[in-house]
Symmetry: C2
Subunit: 318 residues, 2 copies
């Protein structure tokens, strides 16, 4: 089958069809999304080698139980052992021996087919298009903030970063009742967020006062964005680190301790609440798609993504 | 009056007696303790200039209300405005216009006399000696962890750093029911902690497994200690930053996000629970005193503190 394969560099490669283990489904990939983590992987993140890709929608082609056959699905990306204390707590996404599709020791979805345990699958409701369903994983990651903390209605929150993830995070927080300000650098992206009723602020145009938000979110995946999120956090406030970045975070230790700030790492979320949001059209995702490439133009898709004003780039395997 | 005064360098200096404002008490300092923050101030922390010192016990010499006259007291170090939203929440120690005795724009206790608002004072119970009472502020700082999070009995916690603060933190956590491991570098300090029933571990002798504690506390005030506290924290665990250090914390951003670790800055605490612990002898403090100097040997006291195995150094103004 055709795939994008990373080994020192990304290439289009013919690889054998994956074989599913018992309990797993073989899934024909319909569409896949390229994410910031994929770009980090190309820079060496998690020392991944193989087929990247963890945002996808597909159709089950083979499986053990009839209930999944032919169904349109998305899949949770962490493959947990199912037996350890983390799995027992329902936190398989922190299972210490987990693999992660397209990120840690497990082939991903930038291919014609992928395998995943049936336990990881979620059926996609008919109302949700392929183009929307492919956002389930990043919307779930945005929803994870709501799993980790209680947002009371009207809570003032600042989100730093108007990229793909930031634009999902502001929508998820807004529908949870927060009073959201998005801080970004790109007029077109900020304009889009404005149409959702989000307050926006162009970085540089106006400096926000330090210590002015009870909760801030870094969605830039850069030390600069994280530093700004910390600067804007009130005493006893919370800074959510929503983006993975490879390397060291250089933080103002004095501010963290003196203002008793809580820094909260936040990663993958549950798919069910994300699918609910997509079904109810309570988050807008299709307008975030800048361009769709066929799989065999996958290298071009990655190159295209490096352009500044690009939002979501999809691969189409249909 | 005699004082230790910091302006570019620390010196013994004759200064005018402080004048108390209405609502304030003039306090004859009996004893004062030298803390890590004082040493940071001498390196430029908070750009403080004047008389440092914020750990003290004294006797009220002048005040407005008779109830305090002649009483032996300790004093909360944050001087809040009393009117803002932080003060209204009982969080005057985060009041944005606060001064902090001996740290931010307010003379401290390394002198014969100091002034503080009566509202900041706490009477020292007769059972508590001067030598114990002088530990109220650092014991309160250790207790602050219990204000910020719930420690369920048996919770496994690692404290990094066997210095003055670390030795108070382990005692406070232990009496709160935690199962505490102290990780340090000094055999004599670890031996002392062992007598309190704390599990101890000499750094370097044995490496602890990564991600092995649900809660860790950095009490070293160094990037190295904070890094170790993060390394030892479980997924979804909490790292408490208990020490102020001047500068940037270089943290493993990937670990923070992927393991969804919470980093919790922790500073000053309330005096009442600390005095309760001291009165009930539920924390041992007098055995932490390595040496006591008269005020006019204050420079020698600071020099002495630079020795490695030294724990608490006190100044005696009685």
């Amino acid at each position: 089958m055709k795939s994008l394969y990373f080994h020192k560099e990304l290439s289009l490669r013919e690889v054998p069809m994956p074989r599913r283990a018992p309990g797993e489904a073989l899934i024909k990939v319909l569409m896949a999304g390229i994410c910031g983590t994929d770009r980090e992987i190309l820079k060496g993140y998690s020392e991944f080698q193989g087929i990247p890709g963890h945002e996808f929608v597909g159709r089950v082609a083979e499986c053990d139980t009839s209930k999944w056959m032919g169904k349109r699905v998305v899949g949770e990306i962490n493959l947990a052992c199912g037996h350890c204390s983390w799995c027992a707590k329902g936190l398989g996404r922190h299972c210490p021996t987990r693999t992660v599709m397209g990120i840690v020791n497990r082939p991903g979805a930038f291919a014609e087919y992928v395998t995943l345990p049936e336990a990881n699958l979620h059926r996609v409701p008919d109302e949700v298009s392929d183009q929307s369903a492919v956002f389930t994983e990043p919307v779930a990651a945005a929803c994870e903030i709501l799993e980790q903390m209680t947002i009371t209605p009207g809570t003032r929150m600042a989100v730093i970063g108007d990229g793909r993830l930031g634009l999902l995070v502001v929508q998820v927080l807004k529908q949870a009742g927060a009073d959201v300000t998005l801080i970004g650098r790109h007029a077109s992206k900020l304009d889009l967020a404005k149409t959702w009723g989000v307050r926006v602020l162009c970085e540089g145009a106006q400096e926000l006062a330090a210590s002015s938000f009870p909760i801030t979110v870094d969605a830039t995946g850069s030390p600069r964005g994280l530093g700004e999120a910390l600067r804007l956090a009130e005493p006893r406030g919370t800074v959510v680190m929503k983006s993975t970045f490879h390397g060291a975070a250089n933080l103002d230790a004095t501010k963290l301790v003196v203002d008793e700030v809580t820094l909260l790492g936040s990663r993958c979320g549950l798919f069910a609440p994300a699918l609910d949001l997509l079904r109810g059209r309570r988050v807008t995702v299709e307008s975030l798609i800048t361009r769709t490439f066929p799989l065999n133009q996958g290298l071009e898709a990655f190159a295209y993504l490096n352009q500044n004003s690009v939002l979501k780039v999809l691969l189409d395997m249909r």
